[in-house]
Amino acid sequence: MEKEAVFLQQVNAHKGILFKICRLYQDREEDRQDLLQEIVLQLWSSYDSFRGDSQFSSWMYRVALNTAIVYLRKQRHHDNFVVTAPYPDLADDVRPVRDEQQKLAIFHQAVAQLGKVEKALIFLYMEGHSGKDMAAILDLSPGNVRVRLNRVKDKLQTIIKTLGYEF
């Protein structure tokens, strides 16, 4: 019981990470809740493997991202209408955006069109992780992370332009 309490306390101290991951990986609130539940369950079932030789948050990033990447959304009937082509035509007029919150909202909209691994990369980058940390969490080489991250940033810029914004 004490172990469970300690676990919940540690997870609660870093819960912002989990909410951000769920927001990034799922579009609907209901799916986000399901993913959150899934991550918490996976963290709990893997908790014995956390030996304290790394920070709890680092371990949590790894388990949470692994879970989000291999998570399968529930199939719904209206999933048939999901647009598969990620790049619609370029917007006719590109509007500059100044407001920070609006930028972030547009950024989230663009990130939704990325692949699962690309989302993990951009998430860790936005969280301020170094290339070495990102490589360790995602089990990639630092060089590979650098190349992929640049590619993802370019892709995001293109998507944001196709949405009709520029910042």
């Binding site: 919940l8 819960k15 959150l36 899934e38 893997s46 291999v70 920070e100 301020g128 089990d139 940033k153």
Partner: protein
Amino acid sequence: MNFDDLKDAWAKEPVDERVLPARLTGKTTGAIARLRRNMRNEFIWTILGLGATLVVLIVHGGHHRLTILAYCAAAFLFVQAGYYFFRFFLFYRRTQRYDLGLRKSLRRFVSELELNIEVYRTYSFCITPLACLVWIAIVDTDVTGGFIVRYLSGEMPTSPWTIIWIILTLLCTQFLGAFFLHLHLETQYTRYLKELRRILDDLED
């Protein structure tokens, strides 16, 4: 686009005030979790099936013309199933670690799953005739039981039509078995394997 500005806005985003789920029990729905659940169910149903076969064999198997055949075939069936499910259990146990490096653990999981699916296919092909034989020997109907008894006592008719009929029956049974096996693998394992393979390809790109 200036990502540093965005990073500031990202960091300043208000912390979500929602609470985390309090339940630490429940069904997980990730691809690996679903595969593990399907494996566990498969294991339980097979144990039940083998148990039922054993019970029927003990209760009814000793009073027929084909008793020896039933027990011999059942012994092979149980040994093969036991060996396969021991391997299957070891694989199941290895799949519970999530905190390993994603690419490394996924690659290992995907290759082991592919191997196990092939082993499962082979195992199913091997035990289908054995299981049929056990049940034919137990049930011992006039048609099939009599047929086997005649064959064992050397009274088998050797007309080409009979041989063609036997071959066609066996082929149809095996094809039908293969078809249902394919459906079963597709719904329970292969579609999750494809999803994991896609993620792995993405990681190894």
